[in-house]
Point group: C2
Chain length 214, copies 2
Protein backbone atom coordinates (compact mmCIF):
# COMPACT_ATOMS: atom_id res chain seq x y z
CA UNK A 1 0.00 0.00 0.00
CA UNK A 2 1.38 3.35 -0.99
CA UNK A 3 1.29 6.43 1.20
CA UNK A 4 -1.29 9.15 0.46
CA UNK A 5 1.54 11.03 -1.29
CA UNK A 6 1.33 14.19 0.71
CA UNK A 7 2.05 17.05 -1.61
CA UNK A 8 3.17 20.42 -0.34
CA UNK A 9 0.97 23.46 -0.78
CA UNK A 10 3.73 25.12 -2.77
CA UNK A 11 3.91 22.28 -5.28
CA UNK A 12 0.15 22.11 -5.55
CA UNK A 13 -0.06 25.79 -6.44
CA UNK A 14 2.88 25.59 -8.81
CA UNK A 15 1.34 22.66 -10.68
CA UNK A 16 -2.07 24.30 -10.81
CA UNK A 17 -0.71 27.53 -12.24
CA UNK A 18 1.45 25.68 -14.74
CA UNK A 19 -1.57 23.72 -15.84
CA UNK A 20 -3.71 26.82 -16.24
CA UNK A 21 -1.06 28.63 -18.22
CA UNK A 22 -0.49 25.63 -20.47
CA UNK A 23 -4.23 25.33 -21.04
CA UNK A 24 -4.42 29.00 -21.97
CA UNK A 25 -6.74 29.86 -19.11
CA UNK A 26 -4.18 32.30 -17.86
CA UNK A 27 -3.17 34.23 -20.94
CA UNK A 28 0.24 35.73 -21.61
CA UNK A 29 0.53 39.18 -20.11
CA UNK A 30 -1.85 38.54 -17.24
CA UNK A 31 -0.66 39.74 -13.90
CA UNK A 32 -0.56 37.43 -10.91
CA UNK A 33 -0.88 39.05 -7.53
CA UNK A 34 0.17 37.12 -4.49
CA UNK A 35 -2.68 38.07 -2.23
CA UNK A 36 -5.29 37.13 -4.80
CA UNK A 37 -3.72 33.75 -5.47
CA UNK A 38 -3.36 33.11 -1.75
CA UNK A 39 -7.08 33.70 -1.34
CA UNK A 40 -7.90 31.53 -4.35
CA UNK A 41 -5.83 28.61 -3.15
CA UNK A 42 -6.84 29.13 0.47
CA UNK A 43 -3.26 29.38 1.59
CA UNK A 44 -0.97 32.06 2.87
CA UNK A 45 1.24 34.20 0.69
CA UNK A 46 4.34 32.21 1.57
CA UNK A 47 3.73 29.12 -0.57
CA UNK A 48 2.23 31.26 -3.32
CA UNK A 49 5.39 33.29 -3.39
CA UNK A 50 7.54 30.20 -3.58
CA UNK A 51 5.48 28.80 -6.45
CA UNK A 52 5.80 32.08 -8.33
CA UNK A 53 9.53 32.11 -7.75
CA UNK A 54 9.87 28.66 -9.22
CA UNK A 55 7.72 29.41 -12.23
CA UNK A 56 9.71 32.57 -12.79
CA UNK A 57 12.94 30.60 -12.70
CA UNK A 58 11.52 28.37 -15.40
CA UNK A 59 10.70 31.34 -17.59
CA UNK A 60 6.99 30.62 -17.50
CA UNK A 61 6.44 33.81 -15.59
CA UNK A 62 8.43 37.00 -15.79
CA UNK A 63 8.78 39.79 -13.29
CA UNK A 64 7.49 42.96 -14.81
CA UNK A 65 9.53 46.12 -15.08
CA UNK A 66 7.28 47.69 -12.49
CA UNK A 67 5.77 45.39 -9.94
CA UNK A 68 4.45 41.89 -9.76
CA UNK A 69 4.90 38.87 -11.96
CA UNK A 70 3.17 38.23 -15.24
CA UNK A 71 2.54 35.28 -17.48
CA UNK A 72 5.40 35.46 -19.96
CA UNK A 73 4.50 37.20 -23.16
CA UNK A 74 6.66 37.47 -26.23
CA UNK A 75 6.56 39.62 -29.31
CA UNK A 76 7.25 38.12 -32.76
CA UNK A 77 10.95 38.74 -32.51
CA UNK A 78 11.26 37.07 -29.11
CA UNK A 79 9.02 34.22 -30.15
CA UNK A 80 11.27 33.62 -33.15
CA UNK A 81 14.31 33.51 -30.91
CA UNK A 82 12.71 31.09 -28.49
CA UNK A 83 11.63 28.85 -31.31
CA UNK A 84 15.09 28.98 -32.78
CA UNK A 85 16.59 27.79 -29.52
CA UNK A 86 13.94 25.12 -29.19
CA UNK A 87 14.58 24.14 -32.78
CA UNK A 88 18.24 23.49 -32.03
CA UNK A 89 17.54 21.47 -28.93
CA UNK A 90 14.82 19.40 -30.52
CA UNK A 91 17.06 18.64 -33.49
CA UNK A 92 19.84 17.53 -31.18
CA UNK A 93 17.38 15.33 -29.27
CA UNK A 94 16.16 13.72 -32.48
CA UNK A 95 19.69 13.02 -33.63
CA UNK A 96 20.77 11.50 -30.33
CA UNK A 97 17.57 9.54 -30.00
CA UNK A 98 18.02 8.03 -33.45
CA UNK A 99 21.46 6.83 -32.41
CA UNK A 100 20.26 5.21 -29.21
CA UNK A 101 16.86 3.78 -29.97
CA UNK A 102 15.88 0.81 -27.89
CA UNK A 103 12.93 -1.45 -28.43
CA UNK A 104 11.26 0.15 -25.45
CA UNK A 105 11.73 3.73 -26.56
CA UNK A 106 10.57 2.90 -30.09
CA UNK A 107 7.44 1.43 -28.60
CA UNK A 108 6.85 4.47 -26.42
CA UNK A 109 7.14 6.80 -29.40
CA UNK A 110 4.84 4.64 -31.50
CA UNK A 111 2.27 4.40 -28.76
CA UNK A 112 2.25 8.14 -28.31
CA UNK A 113 1.87 8.63 -32.04
CA UNK A 114 -1.01 6.15 -32.12
CA UNK A 115 -2.73 8.29 -29.50
CA UNK A 116 -2.07 11.39 -31.57
CA UNK A 117 -3.68 9.82 -34.62
CA UNK A 118 -6.68 8.64 -32.62
CA UNK A 119 -7.21 12.07 -31.10
CA UNK A 120 -6.77 13.77 -34.46
CA UNK A 121 -9.30 11.50 -36.12
CA UNK A 122 -11.73 12.11 -33.30
CA UNK A 123 -11.10 15.85 -33.60
CA UNK A 124 -10.47 15.98 -29.86
CA UNK A 125 -8.26 19.02 -29.40
CA UNK A 126 -7.57 18.54 -25.70
CA UNK A 127 -6.66 14.89 -26.15
CA UNK A 128 -4.45 15.78 -29.09
CA UNK A 129 -2.57 18.41 -27.12
CA UNK A 130 -1.89 15.89 -24.41
CA UNK A 131 -0.86 13.15 -26.84
CA UNK A 132 1.35 15.57 -28.73
CA UNK A 133 3.20 16.43 -25.54
CA UNK A 134 3.64 12.76 -24.75
CA UNK A 135 4.97 12.14 -28.24
CA UNK A 136 7.67 14.75 -27.94
CA UNK A 137 8.49 13.71 -24.39
CA UNK A 138 8.96 10.15 -25.62
CA UNK A 139 11.54 11.40 -28.11
CA UNK A 140 13.34 13.38 -25.41
CA UNK A 141 13.38 10.36 -23.18
CA UNK A 142 14.81 8.26 -25.98
CA UNK A 143 17.99 10.32 -25.89
CA UNK A 144 18.78 8.56 -22.62
CA UNK A 145 19.96 11.94 -21.40
CA UNK A 146 17.75 13.44 -18.69
CA UNK A 147 19.49 16.81 -18.95
CA UNK A 148 18.72 17.14 -22.65
CA UNK A 149 15.20 15.98 -21.91
CA UNK A 150 14.83 18.55 -19.18
CA UNK A 151 15.78 21.59 -21.24
CA UNK A 152 13.68 20.39 -24.14
CA UNK A 153 10.72 20.00 -21.80
CA UNK A 154 11.32 23.40 -20.34
CA UNK A 155 11.12 25.05 -23.75
CA UNK A 156 8.01 23.09 -24.48
CA UNK A 157 6.38 24.43 -21.33
CA UNK A 158 7.41 27.95 -22.17
CA UNK A 159 6.07 27.85 -25.69
CA UNK A 160 2.97 25.86 -24.79
CA UNK A 161 0.53 28.76 -24.73
CA UNK A 162 1.73 29.90 -28.15
CA UNK A 163 1.79 26.51 -29.81
CA UNK A 164 -1.58 25.40 -28.57
CA UNK A 165 -3.32 28.25 -30.38
CA UNK A 166 -2.43 26.84 -33.74
CA UNK A 167 -4.60 23.76 -33.31
CA UNK A 168 -7.96 25.15 -34.26
CA UNK A 169 -9.56 22.78 -36.74
CA UNK A 170 -9.60 19.02 -37.05
CA UNK A 171 -7.49 19.43 -40.18
CA UNK A 172 -4.80 21.11 -38.10
CA UNK A 173 -4.66 18.06 -35.86
CA UNK A 174 -4.49 15.63 -38.74
CA UNK A 175 -1.78 17.65 -40.46
CA UNK A 176 0.26 17.66 -37.26
CA UNK A 177 -0.13 13.91 -36.81
CA UNK A 178 1.03 13.36 -40.37
CA UNK A 179 4.01 15.54 -39.76
CA UNK A 180 4.80 13.31 -36.78
CA UNK A 181 4.70 10.27 -39.00
CA UNK A 182 7.38 11.64 -41.31
CA UNK A 183 9.44 12.57 -38.30
CA UNK A 184 9.16 9.04 -36.91
CA UNK A 185 10.34 7.59 -40.19
CA UNK A 186 13.40 9.81 -40.07
CA UNK A 187 14.22 8.97 -36.48
CA UNK A 188 13.62 5.25 -36.90
CA UNK A 189 15.79 5.21 -40.02
CA UNK A 190 18.71 5.38 -37.61
CA UNK A 191 20.29 7.88 -39.93
CA UNK A 192 21.01 10.56 -37.36
CA UNK A 193 21.46 13.31 -39.91
CA UNK A 194 18.05 12.54 -41.37
CA UNK A 195 16.54 12.51 -37.88
CA UNK A 196 17.96 15.91 -37.07
CA UNK A 197 16.84 17.30 -40.41
CA UNK A 198 13.41 15.77 -40.00
CA UNK A 199 12.96 17.38 -36.62
CA UNK A 200 14.11 20.71 -37.99
CA UNK A 201 11.51 20.60 -40.68
CA UNK A 202 8.81 19.58 -38.19
CA UNK A 203 9.76 22.43 -35.88
CA UNK A 204 9.92 24.97 -38.68
CA UNK A 205 6.42 23.98 -39.69
CA UNK A 206 5.29 24.25 -36.10
CA UNK A 207 6.85 27.68 -35.74
CA UNK A 208 5.29 29.08 -38.89
CA UNK A 209 1.87 28.02 -37.69
CA UNK A 210 2.48 29.43 -34.24
CA UNK A 211 3.53 32.74 -35.76
CA UNK A 212 0.39 32.88 -37.83
CA UNK A 213 -1.77 32.19 -34.79
CA UNK A 214 -0.14 34.75 -32.51
Amino acid sequence: MREPAKISVTKRIEAALMEEIAAGELEPGVRLDEAGLAARFEASRTPVREALTRLTAQGILVEGARRGVFVAQYDREELAQIFEAMHEIEAACARIASQRLTLLSRTDIETAQANCIAAAKAGDRTAYLRANEAFHMAIYKSTGNPYMAEIASEFRRRTGPFRSKKFQTKEDLIASAQSHQELINDIFSEDSAAASKGMRSHMTESFLQALRAN
Copy 2:
Protein backbone atom coordinates in the same frame (compact mmCIF):
# COMPACT_ATOMS: atom_id res chain seq x y z
CA MET B 1 24.40 60.22 -10.46
CA ARG B 2 22.99 56.75 -10.25
CA GLU B 3 20.94 55.46 -7.35
CA PRO B 4 22.70 53.29 -4.75
CA ALA B 5 21.27 50.28 -6.67
CA LYS B 6 19.31 48.80 -3.84
CA ILE B 7 19.63 45.06 -4.10
CA SER B 8 17.27 42.73 -2.31
CA VAL B 9 18.58 40.49 0.43
CA THR B 10 17.41 37.47 -1.54
CA LYS B 11 19.45 38.44 -4.61
CA ARG B 12 22.47 39.24 -2.51
CA ILE B 13 22.40 35.80 -0.91
CA GLU B 14 21.75 34.07 -4.22
CA ALA B 15 24.67 35.81 -5.87
CA ALA B 16 26.98 35.13 -2.94
CA LEU B 17 26.18 31.42 -2.89
CA MET B 18 26.52 31.15 -6.65
CA GLU B 19 29.88 32.82 -6.43
CA GLU B 20 31.10 30.52 -3.66
CA ILE B 21 29.99 27.43 -5.49
CA ALA B 22 31.60 28.56 -8.71
CA ALA B 23 34.81 29.31 -6.85
CA GLY B 24 34.75 25.86 -5.32
CA GLU B 25 34.54 27.17 -1.76
CA LEU B 26 31.31 25.28 -1.37
CA GLU B 27 32.09 21.85 -2.72
CA PRO B 28 29.63 19.53 -4.44
CA GLY B 29 27.76 17.44 -1.92
CA VAL B 30 27.88 20.00 0.86
CA ARG B 31 24.62 20.53 2.64
CA LEU B 32 23.14 24.00 3.04
CA ASP B 33 20.92 24.53 6.03
CA GLU B 34 18.63 27.48 6.07
CA ALA B 35 19.15 28.51 9.65
CA GLY B 36 22.91 28.48 9.32
CA LEU B 37 22.89 30.58 6.16
CA ALA B 38 20.41 32.98 7.72
CA ALA B 39 22.82 33.51 10.60
CA ARG B 40 25.79 33.87 8.25
CA PHE B 41 24.09 36.47 6.09
CA GLU B 42 22.47 38.17 9.04
CA ALA B 43 19.03 37.80 7.58
CA SER B 44 15.94 35.78 8.30
CA ARG B 45 15.20 32.40 6.80
CA THR B 46 12.75 33.84 4.31
CA PRO B 47 15.18 35.39 1.84
CA VAL B 48 17.59 32.48 2.34
CA ARG B 49 14.82 30.11 1.41
CA GLU B 50 13.99 32.07 -1.70
CA ALA B 51 17.62 32.14 -2.79
CA LEU B 52 17.88 28.39 -2.31
CA THR B 53 14.71 27.86 -4.29
CA ARG B 54 16.11 29.83 -7.19
CA LEU B 55 19.45 28.08 -7.15
CA THR B 56 17.65 24.75 -7.04
CA ALA B 57 15.58 25.73 -10.06
CA GLN B 58 18.82 26.42 -11.91
CA GLY B 59 20.19 23.01 -11.04
CA ILE B 60 23.08 24.45 -9.06
CA LEU B 61 21.60 22.97 -5.92
CA VAL B 62 19.57 19.81 -5.62
CA GLU B 63 17.15 18.78 -2.94
CA GLY B 64 18.40 15.63 -1.32
CA ALA B 65 16.38 12.47 -1.13
CA ARG B 66 16.07 13.01 2.60
CA ARG B 67 16.07 16.56 3.74
CA GLY B 68 17.71 19.81 2.87
CA VAL B 69 19.41 21.07 -0.24
CA PHE B 70 22.92 20.23 -1.33
CA VAL B 71 25.41 21.60 -3.78
CA ALA B 72 24.80 19.52 -6.88
CA GLN B 73 27.11 16.58 -7.19
CA TYR B 74 27.35 14.24 -10.14
CA ASP B 75 28.91 10.85 -10.69
CA ARG B 76 30.85 10.10 -13.89
CA GLU B 77 27.78 8.95 -15.72
CA GLU B 78 25.78 12.06 -14.87
CA LEU B 79 28.72 14.31 -15.57
CA ALA B 80 29.03 12.73 -19.01
CA GLN B 81 25.37 13.36 -19.69
CA ILE B 82 25.57 16.97 -18.61
CA PHE B 83 28.62 17.54 -20.72
CA GLU B 84 26.91 15.90 -23.66
CA ALA B 85 24.00 18.30 -23.36
CA MET B 86 26.35 21.23 -22.94
CA HIS B 87 28.32 19.98 -25.92
CA GLU B 88 25.23 20.15 -28.11
CA ILE B 89 24.25 23.59 -26.99
CA GLU B 90 27.73 25.02 -27.30
CA ALA B 91 28.05 23.58 -30.80
CA ALA B 92 24.75 25.14 -31.80
CA CYS B 93 25.87 28.47 -30.36
CA ALA B 94 29.13 28.34 -32.29
CA ARG B 95 27.34 27.57 -35.52
CA ILE B 96 24.79 30.34 -35.11
CA ALA B 97 27.42 32.80 -33.97
CA SER B 98 29.55 32.10 -37.01
CA GLN B 99 26.57 32.92 -39.20
CA ARG B 100 25.83 36.20 -37.49
CA LEU B 101 29.15 37.69 -36.58
CA THR B 102 29.22 41.44 -36.36
CA LEU B 103 32.25 43.64 -36.04
CA LEU B 104 31.31 44.26 -32.43
CA SER B 105 30.90 40.63 -31.46
CA ARG B 106 34.16 39.67 -33.19
CA THR B 107 35.89 42.33 -31.17
CA ASP B 108 34.33 41.12 -27.94
CA ILE B 109 35.48 37.57 -28.59
CA GLU B 110 38.98 38.70 -29.51
CA THR B 111 39.24 40.91 -26.47
CA ALA B 112 38.18 38.07 -24.20
CA GLN B 113 40.70 35.78 -25.85
CA ALA B 114 43.45 38.37 -25.40
CA ASN B 115 42.65 38.37 -21.70
CA CYS B 116 42.79 34.60 -21.63
CA ILE B 117 46.23 34.61 -23.21
CA ALA B 118 47.47 37.26 -20.83
CA ALA B 119 46.20 35.37 -17.80
CA ALA B 120 47.62 32.09 -19.09
CA LYS B 121 51.04 33.62 -19.68
CA ALA B 122 50.96 35.13 -16.23
CA GLY B 123 49.89 31.78 -14.81
CA ASP B 124 47.06 33.53 -12.99
CA ARG B 125 44.47 30.83 -12.47
CA THR B 126 41.73 33.04 -11.03
CA ALA B 127 42.11 35.59 -13.80
CA TYR B 128 42.09 32.83 -16.39
CA LEU B 129 38.89 31.34 -15.04
CA ARG B 130 37.23 34.71 -15.24
CA ALA B 131 38.55 35.43 -18.74
CA ASN B 132 37.54 31.97 -19.92
CA GLU B 133 33.97 32.57 -18.77
CA ALA B 134 33.94 35.91 -20.55
CA PHE B 135 35.25 34.27 -23.72
CA HIS B 136 32.47 31.72 -23.83
CA MET B 137 29.86 34.30 -22.87
CA ALA B 138 31.03 36.45 -25.76
CA ILE B 139 30.37 33.57 -28.13
CA TYR B 140 26.92 33.00 -26.66
CA LYS B 141 26.13 36.65 -27.02
CA SER B 142 27.26 36.57 -30.64
CA THR B 143 24.37 34.27 -31.46
CA GLY B 144 22.10 37.27 -31.05
CA ASN B 145 19.73 34.92 -29.27
CA PRO B 146 19.38 35.60 -25.55
CA TYR B 147 17.54 32.33 -24.98
CA MET B 148 20.34 30.24 -26.44
CA ALA B 149 22.78 32.33 -24.45
CA GLU B 150 20.81 31.76 -21.29
CA ILE B 151 20.75 27.97 -21.45
CA ALA B 152 24.38 27.85 -22.42
CA SER B 153 25.22 30.05 -19.44
CA GLU B 154 23.15 27.90 -17.17
CA PHE B 155 25.08 24.78 -18.13
CA ARG B 156 28.29 26.65 -17.65
CA ARG B 157 27.27 27.58 -14.12
CA ARG B 158 26.26 24.03 -13.37
CA THR B 159 29.49 22.54 -14.58
CA GLY B 160 31.68 25.30 -13.21
CA PRO B 161 32.88 23.47 -10.10
CA PHE B 162 33.88 20.46 -12.20
CA ARG B 163 35.57 22.33 -14.99
CA SER B 164 37.59 24.61 -12.76
CA LYS B 165 39.40 21.68 -11.19
CA LYS B 166 41.12 20.86 -14.43
CA PHE B 167 43.14 24.07 -14.48
CA GLN B 168 45.98 23.13 -12.19
CA THR B 169 49.23 24.09 -13.85
CA LYS B 170 50.26 27.02 -16.00
CA GLU B 171 50.54 24.57 -18.90
CA ASP B 172 46.85 23.73 -18.50
CA LEU B 173 46.00 27.39 -18.92
CA ILE B 174 48.18 27.81 -21.96
CA ALA B 175 46.79 24.68 -23.57
CA SER B 176 43.26 25.94 -22.99
CA ALA B 177 44.06 29.33 -24.49
CA GLN B 178 45.54 27.65 -27.55
CA SER B 179 42.43 25.55 -27.89
CA HIS B 180 40.46 28.81 -27.87
CA GLN B 181 42.56 30.13 -30.70
CA GLU B 182 41.70 27.21 -32.95
CA LEU B 183 38.07 27.61 -32.02
CA ILE B 184 38.16 31.29 -32.94
CA ASN B 185 39.62 30.48 -36.31
CA ASP B 186 36.78 28.09 -36.99
CA ILE B 187 34.10 30.52 -35.88
CA PHE B 188 35.60 33.47 -37.74
CA SER B 189 35.93 31.38 -40.88
CA GLU B 190 32.18 31.92 -41.27
CA ASP B 191 31.92 28.28 -42.23
CA SER B 192 29.20 27.32 -39.79
CA ALA B 193 29.88 23.58 -40.06
CA ALA B 194 33.50 24.17 -39.17
CA ALA B 195 32.47 26.38 -36.26
CA SER B 196 30.21 23.71 -34.87
CA LYS B 197 32.83 21.03 -35.34
CA GLY B 198 35.48 23.22 -33.78
CA MET B 199 33.38 23.81 -30.71
CA ARG B 200 32.65 20.12 -30.42
CA SER B 201 36.31 19.32 -30.41
CA HIS B 202 37.00 22.05 -27.86
CA MET B 203 34.24 20.73 -25.60
CA THR B 204 35.34 17.14 -25.96
CA GLU B 205 38.80 18.13 -24.89
CA SER B 206 37.37 20.07 -21.97
CA PHE B 207 35.25 17.14 -20.91
CA LEU B 208 38.09 14.64 -21.00
CA GLN B 209 40.14 16.86 -18.75
CA ALA B 210 37.23 17.41 -16.40
CA LEU B 211 36.68 13.67 -16.16
CA ARG B 212 40.30 13.13 -15.31
CA ALA B 213 40.18 15.79 -12.60
CA ASN B 214 36.98 14.58 -10.97
